[in-house]
Symmetry: C2
């Protein structure tokens, strides 16, 4: 059987640009994983890893023009967005280099023998080790930041884990190019190329998750694809952690006072957030609870104006466009659903942004309108008009887990008046990140970031963005009564590496 | 259909003592989980939780005589061991109260707006929230420390999660008694009884893991039972974390120099560790790599003497005794396996400790002797005699994951001479806790403890013992641009609760 070709496709025309690679056979997947596994010792040195990550950031910067051009040709995301995304990706690599240098992520804990505990405590010293080879499933919508050089790769390499990336079919040429840059950075520090493996093909992705030497996986994509991989990870003879981000509705609640105070501003802000990147963000606000009445009407009016002014855009691939068109058609045809701006086809290869409205009472009842509580990828959102707080509560109680949940409050409510605190408490169980008077698009790479929420937003309690994303690729080990002569320096009493740690119960840094 | 009775059985006679309860119907499981779910807000206050845990420790102490008597009647573990286990359990409850008071487990991270990052950082404040109702599956072999009042319950309550415990059928009366004590402690602090639910029955255990309001589970038991529950947890419409401890071989490597230096002492120590509690510890050393030659012979001789002197003991139940007898018979009948002290039946209800020997080369080869690489619960171990380091490496490469791995070194090797460091590095990937010149039985409740290792030792990267066991029942949430008036005090700039935290990147405590 001939190897299946992997094509780079121009989403602006739907035409094939070039053959980039072939899909990896099971044997090729095995070879990539085995080589990555063998490369683990090369990543053991923290200083080398940090330097490697910084070199990767530098080289991606030096290659910026070529990378942005390659990615734009395959994704139509445009040079401005892609240049920004690459800058973010480079910042992320450097941020993880800093995390590695600081070493707090090692969670060093040292207990000396203590006969007063029950039972007595021996000498115990604990820190964290890399899990092994990490499989990274690249996202369609971020050819850099959530793909080959993205957060999963950066955090796994920071942890000391080689990666094998399953490229996304929407940007295979970019994936190959970026992988070559990362490997050049690895070579600068004497690291084997196999610290960053790359495979193409749907079946290769399944082979990868089932490979005995793969120790963990990171995924960004759809519920359907992610759940299939999650299930495969759980069904292995030796199950492995699967950190998947599968989808998110990202609900927004606008209070009556907020709508009265700044309905127009909220409407315009919503239009910007839901159409950003042609609505192809995992934190796109997909359901907005807006009060009935004058304030809410002004919000909808400004939303209508702003969305109407939005130019049609190109989605990442034709299948996505088909799914979007079918999804908005099906949603718009539900009873009592109206479309002040009809989302749908733009030109032959573009889509037009729009939004739907529905009475919130329809969503509160189990049944016919549940489709509106599912993510629809692309430039569309659902405005649910509510008459009272009970309807808001009822709709929120029916939502699945989310990456983000957003609350728009009046100045008085934000200062602690009215139902602000109550609503914040109601949104908190729904999401990993809760925002007040802002929009969820734009996810900062910061120590306090939490990009991950209850299922299906995430299949674990972890985050894929921010410093703590490194925790996903580590496991603790404790050494008992082990002489310092045999212990790694991280666990020596004298703390030669200056690590933050817990020492006989006390935090030190 | 009549409710299935739950009997308390005396393992010393195999006779039923009394009917304790009935197996929970699906409706009763639902009621217990719903009540626990409704009790979550009552556990929100950290100070109340800490006080509750301390009262539980106090009341368990005040009830010691009755608890030890009840547990001994059902488990035959004896008053000395059970009194010690109860003391450990009380210490553990207090230790988690201290963890709650300190609040480091909340992982507070505060980032202020920073325009210099890419993308810019908004105000972000992150800490950890309780996941919700935790299902706890009690262990047979620890009626206190890994059952109703054990580490899973203590750490879940410390995290703010109500528990529903699935009692182990080996000690239903003890389970009921302990649950009533915990509920009395809860009442002392105005907490609803439902913060500690209790159900009996195999089917109830499955109903519990599938219940939509159960948010996570802790399990200690067998590969078979644990894997079935793990699979059920993963197959849910909304999968949940399942922290299961399924079994462990706990390999031991004795170097040639160690055997030469103190073969007798190691043999005696091994006998004590493998027969402790009638071999019913999850960290019982089940495979010991001992060198051929004079030193190893002395080790085997002293092991023979010490094990021969061990009195027959009563296992936790009849099924366990049957499984042990079948397991040792099957193992002893393998080619080249000898039994210097034959493990098997003692009296009608007891078993006699023993051990098997086999050439390590037999284990290194794939195939016929693989059964010796599986845990055999009860007072038996396998001594594998090796001729060189390659055989040790070959056997280690065939082992599944373990809770513990142990290395016995000579004084010179422990000081850094010879292959000590190399062997430590070879054992580290196999286990969560690595010991030098000690025995794995006896697991301290300490901040640096790691009781959990690669699968099947544990189904996640977590620990079930020690301060960090609380991490299993939490998820992070980040608040973005949220006014302090709406934020919990844990996330206020002024740090009114004096929590350790990361503040604008810097660790503070």
């Amino acid at each position: 059987m001939a190897a299946a070709p992997v094509w780079s496709v121009d989403p602006r025309t739907g035409k094939r640009r070039e053959q980039v690679a072939v899909e990896a056979t099971p044997r090729e997947v095995d070879r990539a994983v085995a080589a990555a596994h063998a490369a683990r010792p090369a990543l053991a040195d923290r200083a080398v890893r940090a330097a490697f990550l910084r070199s990767a950031a530098d080289l991606l910067g030096a290659t910026e023009a070529a990378l942005v051009e390659a990615a734009d040709a395959e994704t139509a995301l445009g040079p401005v967005r892609l240049t920004g995304e690459l800058a973010r990706t480079r910042y992320q690599l450097r941020a993880f280099a800093d995390v590695v240098d600081e070493g707090a992520y090692l969670d060093v804990v040292i207990d000396h023998p203590d006969a007063t505990t029950t039972p007595p405590t021996p000498d115990l010293r604990r820190y964290k080790l890399p899990l092994g080879v990490v499989a990274v499933y690249a996202a369609s919508n971020f050819p850099f930041a959530f793909s080959v050089p993205g957060g999963d790769t950066a955090s796994a390499l920071a942890a000391g884990c080689p990666v094998v990336v399953k490229a996304h079919p929407d940007h295979p040429a970019t994936s190959e190019l970026v992988a070559s840059v990362l490997r050049r950075a690895a070579a600068e520090h004497g690291l084997p190329q196999a610290v960053v493996g790359l495979v193409h093909g749907f079946d290769a992705g399944l082979d990868l998750i089932r490979h005995p030497l793969v120790a963990a996986a990171g995924f960004t994509g759809s519920v359907r694809g992610g759940r299939a991989l999650f299930d495969a990870a759980a069904a292995r003879p030796v199950p492995i952690p699967f950190h998947g981000e599968l989808g998110s509705l990202n609900p927004v609640v606008v209070t009556e006072d907020a709508a009265a105070e700044r309905g127009e501003e909220i409407g315009t802000g919503l239009a910007g957030s839901m159409t950003l990147g042609v609505g192809q963000f995992c934190v796109k606000p997909g359901l907005v609870l807006v009060p009935e009445g004058a304030g809410g009407d002004r919000l909808v009016k400004s939303l209508t104006a702003a969305v109407s002014d939005t130019e049609p855009g190109v989605l990442l691939d034709q299948r996505m466009r088909d799914t979007f068109l079918a999804g908005v058609t099906e949603r718009a045809s539900l009873p009592d659903v109206t479309a002040p701006v009809t989302p749908g086809a733009g030109g032959a290869h573009t889509v037009a942004a729009g939004f739907l409205t529905v009475p919130a009472a329809r969503l509160a009842a189990d049944g016919a309108h549940d489709l509106l509580l599912e993510e629809c990828f692309g430039p569309v959102t659902v405005v649910a008009r509510y008459t009272d707080g009970d309807e808001v509560t009822a709709v929120l109680s029916r939502l699945p887990g989310n990456l983000s949940a957003t609350l728009h409050l009046s100045a008085d409510e934000a200062a602690g008046g009215g139902r602000g605190a109550e609503l914040l408490a109601a949104l908190t169980p729904l999401a990993g990140r809760v925002l007040v008077n802002g929009w969820p698009t734009g996810v900062a790479v910061a120590p306090a970031q939490q990009h991950g929420g209850p299922y299906p937003a995430t299949t674990s309690t972890s985050t894929s963005v921010g410093a703590t994303a490194i925790e996903r690729w580590l496991r603790p080990v404790a050494y008992q009564n082990t002489p310092e002569a045999l212990l790694p320096p991280e666990l020596h009493d004298a703390n030669p590496l200056g690590l933050p740690r817990r020492y006989d119960g006390r935090l030190e840094h």
